[in-house]
Amino acid sequence: MSTDIERQWTSRIRHSVVDKLPPDKLLPDTQPAYVASWIYVFGVTTMAALGVIILTGIILALDGPQWWHSSTLGHFVNSMHLWSVEIFFFAMVVHLWGKFSMAAWRGGRSLTWVTGAVTFMASILAGFTGYVSQTNFDSQWIATQAKDGINSTGGGAFFNVLNLGQMLMLHIVLLPIAAVALTGIHVVMVRMKGVVPPFEDATTEVSA
């Protein structure tokens, strides 16, 4: 009876998840003493900014893409959306260089780096599709300029920056989903491995 239960798909998945990411690793209450630098704040700040981007984006979505041109409140929410994006990218770039300086891919963390870098790419696309979805002079100019670059790769045939419907859908549905999902994977990977230890001059012991 008990062996049957142990062999269920359900229990097996639960075991493997709990083994890889037990609750005290997912939400730890202590950190190694070396995690004592302001640089560690930038990952969390990036996440926080992503939260504000999504919140303000949801408010902008409620009344449709034209609302913010005519409403003072709408314009303010749009300004918040813009500035949270600026903070997001600023924090992410500092985070990236910080992780580079620490070679934070060591000790089996290379996929953490790779998912981070892919999130960066997805975020750039999300930001770009937002800039061309503004329905104002900036979006007209940015779209007509950017088309040449994308067309030269052949991609313009499928990713038409002059097609507002396509850009807006990508910007408010597909790319946010990608950015949030990638961030989730990224952060779970960090929690699974713990924070990378400092370089040590004399070490021969390879950590698991």
Partner: protein, 315 residues
């Protein structure tokens, strides 16, 4: 048990030091609060840019000559879009590097024929007026050799085109129906009807502005507005926004290449810049796997500053 050698840029040492209390949920909550307040403050102080979009109506009313010249170029097939090549048409030379030319391989998928799409079709959809109908049927029934002769005559007279008393004047008698067509086209543009005609060609609902955007981008008026807002390509272009806003500053490396040789002078600049960026991006994504590159952080020693307390404690 075989012991693998320790690779300092791939393996991490085992940490045997102390652990200290760390409240990550509290840290996260504070981060959200701080970012929210900072965002609201920046939004209050700096707001965000929102220049009205250019329409063909505003363009043709602000600069009727530029509009009529551009419309003439679309009709004659001499505009930038008319000679763009893929993905819009087959008239241009595709960007390439050696034999690599994905633009050409994928070909025309967003068909734009400037003569018909921007001039003839919108005019044909207008209520019939004798002079317009006559000019349209004269154009449509002419052989392509005749059309080319009219186009050439228009191109010669184009620099001296003027606009006065609601009329476009083209100083030539050899351009066939072109002067009449451009007069109606300009009227249509100034009334706002052309904006509508260009977007509604796909039916009632529309979310696609490819045609009017391409048309507007062929005029000098649009580029002039952008120039005033320091947005042109040689001014780090689309990375900026109108006004004094930071824009997409993270695209600096992408826009950077356009400023320097050989990119800045190449006819395939876009393709070369994209190729360069793709290679650099791949390098960034794959740093952990690239010997040499992955040793840089250990050699430049910035980590010594980041973990200075840790190293100080060990002494």
């Amino acid at each position: 048990m075989t012991k693998k050698p320790f690779r300092p840029d791939v393996d991490a040492p085992v940490y045997k030091g102390p652990y200290v209390p760390y409240d990550i949920i509290k840290e996260g909550a504070i981060a959200v609060l701080v970012v929210f307040i900072l965002t609201a403050a920046l939004a209050l102080v700096f707001s965000s840019p929102d220049e009205k979009a250019v329409t063909i109506k505003t363009w043709s009313n602000a600069d009727a000559v530029d509009f009529a010249q551009t419309a003439g170029d679309e009709l004659a097939g001499t505009s930038a879009v008319a000679n763009y090549g893929a993905p819009y048409n087959n008239n241009g030379t595709s960007q390439h590097w050696g034999f690599l030319s994905p633009e050409k391989w994928i070909g025309v998928r967003i068909q734009i024929n400037t003569t018909n799409d921007f001039v003839i079709d919108p005019l044909s959809a207008q209520p019939a007026q004798p002079a317009l109908s006559a000019a349209l049927s004269q154009w449509k029934s002419a052989s392509s050799a005749t059309q080319t002769a009219w186009d050439d005559a228009f191109n010669k007279a184009e620099p001296n085109l003027t606009y006065s008393n609601g009329k476009v004047n083209i100083p030539t008698k050899a351009a066939g129906p072109i002067p009449v067509l451009l007069n109606y086209e300009t009227q249509m543009a100034r009334s706002g009807a052309l904006d509508q005609a260009l977007v509604t060609q796909a039916g009632f609902y529309t979310t696609n502005f490819t045609k009017p955007l391409l048309f507007v981008s062929d005029g000098t008026y649009f580029a002039g507005l952008a120039e005033k807002q320091h947005l042109s390509g040689s001014q780090w272009g689309m990375m900026n926004e109108t006004g004094q806003y930071p824009g997409q500053a993270w695209l600096w490396l992408y826009t950077f290449w356009y400023q320097i040789h050989p990119y800045s002078t190449s006819a395939s600049a876009d393709f070369l810049v994209w190729g360069t960026m793709m290679i650099l991006t791949a390098l960034m994504v794959l740093v952990p796997f690239i010997p040499g590159l992955r040793s840089i952080p250990r050699k430049i020693k910035i980590y010594r500053i980041i973990w200075r307390e840790h190293y100080a404690a060990k002494l």
